[in-house]
């Protein structure tokens, strides 16, 4: 191996100013307004009158270095060697010369990039690693994103919705994506308790921290076996013990599946930020295309499109019509699992005599 350069520590990231396009540098903090020109193009106008056009394209987030080199080549040609990514994994090309916008869009189209995601549409999907890279994944994340967006891509590239619809996928309840505050989100769930590999516990796990990891106190020491035991009826399959103790695997291919949660948001626009709520407790893990999951997502999205007022986010629509009506208009069955029995349960029960038939 050739000689390595001298390493440095604790230098932090490069300062962002090294990477800003000139038009951004010149108008930093001095933007006046912006206009959305199409599903994938917007323009920001500065106090000075300077303009920057943004062209947004989708990315699968898991990308090869060759993908990055491809977009660099495009950015060299049209954007003087500058580009950025969004918080939802899209790629944005920033153009300061209006005459370059159409040629850029044309070249992106020719090369098969998916342009869109701006405005009242579905933007890219925030998601986790899944079977590609995670030890606790109950399902795959990239695959679910792909099959869902294959069906919904027109809402990225073209069709408008009542408001933005933010999708997210998490491969387990750790929810390393923004599932707990998204309009429609998928989460990988378990249905069966962890199995204790007693012979491995004593070598791999610290018993007090394993016991303490359980939010329902289902785990207690088993001194005879120098291991732990589980009170099965108390376990709600969160898998936190497995995070602490690798000798308690919880994955169960026959029973692991996907839940759908809906109605969350992070923005403060109009109504306060909201948590997502359970719409479908379990659907089968049916790779490679998870048809049951996709069908249910479409069912929810279509009911929202049908019922929501302009600017109303999915959660705002449901709150206006009521959750009892949400189950009616979507046709989703309401079952025992929908009723909360965890930490914040009481706040979710109906303490009023008013509801719709």
């Amino acid at each position: 191996m050739s000689e390595l350069p001298q390493r440095q520590t604790d230098i932090g990231p490069p300062h962002y100013s090294k990477f800003l396009p000139p038009v951004i540098k010149e108008n930093y903090g001095k933007w006046r307004y912006h206009e959305i020109l199409s599903a994938g193009v917007m323009v920001h106008v500065a106090e000075s009158g300077a303009k920057v056009w943004t062209v947004r394209v989708a990315s699968p987030r898991l990308v090869s270095t060759d993908f990055i080199r491809d977009i660099c080549e495009i950015a060299d040609k049209y954007c003087d060697g500058h580009l950025r990514f969004t918080t939802r994994h899209n790629v944005e090309f920033l153009v300061s010369d209006e005459s370059k916008v159409d040629p850029l869009v044309n070249e992106l189209k020719e090369k098969g990039y998916m342009i869109g995601g701006i405005g009242d549409r579905i933007s890219n999907v925030v998601h986790t690693q899944g079977w590609v890279h995670c030890h606790s994944a109950a399902t795959d994340a990239s695959g679910l994103v792909k099959v869902m967006m294959d069906e919904l891509h027109e809402y990225f590239t073209e069709k408008e919705l009542p408001a933005k619809v933010r999708l997210a996928v998490a491969c387990c309840v750790n929810m390393c994506g923004a599932v707990h505050c998204s309009d429609i989100a998928l989460v990988g769930v378990h249905k069966t308790p962890p199995r204790i590999e007693h012979d491995k516990v004593k070598n791999l796990c610290e018993i007090p921290s394993t016991v303490a990891s359980c939010p329902t106190s289902a785990i207690s020491p088993d001194p005879a076996k120098k291991s732990v035991k589980i009170k099965i009826e108390k376990c709600m399959y969160c898998g936190n013990c497995y995070s602490v103790c690798p000798a308690m695997p919880i994955s169960d291919p026959k029973n692991d599946g996907v839940a759908i949660v809906v109605g969350g948001k992070v923005s403060n626009l109009r109504s306060n930020p909201k948590f997502s709520k359970l719409a479908v407790p379990w659907l089968p893990n049916n790779p490679p295309r998870w048809p049951e999951v996709v069908e249910n997502v479409k069912k929810i999205l279509n009911a929202y499109i049908e019922g929501a007022k302009k600017h109303e986010r999915l959660g705002e629509w449901v709150e206006r019509i009521g959750w009892e009506k949400f189950f009616k208009v979507t046709g989703l069955p309401f079952q025992l699992q929908h009723i909360d029995d965890f930490t914040f349960a009481r706040e979710t029960w109906r303490m009023a005599a008013t509801f719709k038939w």
Binding site: I68, R84, H133, K146, H153, H180, N268, H311, F342
Partner: protein, 399 residues
């Protein structure tokens, strides 16, 4: 290199309109730029098996890293290394992204070249927390990658019980609504807490996210222990001509703006838009829908909220207000001082794997305020308590 393992199931995910991650893995598996194609080749094989068996084939972590750091590398091993030796080790390197996710193509190519030499040629642009994720290499390559990256001005991000890589929205770089410089604050926080970021020393993780306004494009209120959300004081600035232009161009100002205002503080008579700013809660709806006509008030700053996290383990939390308004200008000493007081409280009382939000729930918000010296303010609560069970301290009672 031609494909080593047949992948009929995941090949299905090359079809369809949305860009395909399977295509990307195949590109890395076949690319002549990538020095060792076996990573991506065997990743395809192992992923195919996961699709067939409906289960993951990654082992449970493992402690690997670079010298002097306790974070920045996620150890990952295949549980069937004999079958897929290319991913026997498949460690992730988190590289601290530049603020606002802006790059030059030169910088990106530099990272690609390093990664092609030492790793799988696969990345996430970006990970959920914000880092550049270099996906998959072996233990022996960690030091070389780090030397190559750091000598060129890049550093690793956070992992484990450490400060996680701070991240922000696009902010003043390309947004008219940024009430403070999210990129600069993110940079300064990251620099200030390098030690806490690289050397896990906390009960659990601690995330910072900087959002320039209440639209919160970085999801700070849901995903950061400390959520810093830009806001303002003073009246919303109205350009009545532009309001009339929106009306002329088809916007139903009564229905879309006035009736959707959560505080009912607006009125529209067909000619003039009026706002009773005293009642405005600065939700941003009207400003976001009429970008040309309405601008935020002139005194800019931020609200600091604390405590959000995903459901593991006692349920998801959203951050709540601990500082209603703070001016955020360099050198940010007031903020850093607050952060250090919060960490002291957490360090003193936090249990292993207890996030700061959970700790405050367990100990009580008033205890937290008292110990960190933050004055109570009505903006901190939706409503006062419902129960009569409150504490007094010794100085409050007659002896």
């Amino acid at each position: 290199m031609p494909q080593k393992h047949p992948t009929p199931l995941i090949d299905e995910l090359e079809k369809g309109a949305f860009p395909s991650f399977v295509k990307e893995i195949k590109r890395a598996a076949e690319s002549s730029n990538v020095q060792d194609n076996n990573y991506a080749q065997d990743l395809l094989g192992q992923l195919e098996l996961s699709y067939k068996e409906k289960k993951t084939h990654w082992k449970h972590g493992g402690i690997v890293g670079v010298r002097g750091y306790g974070s920045g590398v996620i150890g990952r091993y295949s549980d069937i290394p004999d079958q897929f030796p290319g991913v026997a080790h498949f460690h992730t390197i988190r590289v601290n992204q530049p603020g606002g996710f802006f790059y030059t193509t030169e910088a990106l190519r530099e990272i690609c070249d390093i990664w092609d030499k030492y790793g799988s040629g696969l990345t996430n642009m970006h990970g959920s927390t914000g880092d550049i994720i270099l996906l998959g290499t072996k233990t022996d390559n960690l030091e070389p990658v780090f030397a190559e990256l750091s000598s060129r001005g890049w550093d690793l991000g956070g992992s484990g019980s450490a400060v996680r890589t701070p991240s922000c929205c696009v902010g003043p770089a390309r947004c008219e609504w940024a009430c403070y410089d999210t990129l600069e604050l993110t940079y300064q926080i990251t620099q200030r807490f390098q030690d806490e970021l690289h050397r896990p020393m906390f009960p659990y993780k601690f995330k910072f996210k900087m959002a320039g306004c209440a639209v919160d494009c970085i999801a700070s209120i849901a995903r950061a222990d400390m959520s810093i959300i830009g806001t303002w004081k003073g009246n919303i600035q109205i350009d009545q001509d532009e309001v009339r232009n929106y009306a002329k161009n088809g916007m139903d100002i009564q229905a879309e703006i006035v009736d959707m205002c959560p505080t009912g503080c607006m009125s529209w008579d067909g000619n003039e838009l009026k706002i009773n700013d005293e009642d405005c809660n600065r939700c941003m709806h009207c400003i976001a829908k009429m970008t040309k006509a309405l601008r935020q008030g002139e005194e800019k700053g931020a609200t600091i909220l604390l405590g959000s996290k995903a459901p593991i383990v006692t349920g998801a939390l959203m951050s709540w207000v601990i500082v209603p308004f703070i001016k955020l200008e360099p050198p940010y000493e007031e903020l850093f001082d607050l952060v250090e007081r919060i960490w002291e409280f957490w360090d003193e009382h936090g249990k292993n794997r207890e996030r700061v939000g959970e700790l405050i729930e367990r100990m009580g918000f008033p205890v937290f305020l008292k110990e960190t010296g933050i004055e109570p303010h009505p903006a901190m609560v939706k409503e006062p308590r419902r129960d009569p069970f409150f504490f007094w301290s010794e100085e409050d009672v007659e002896k």
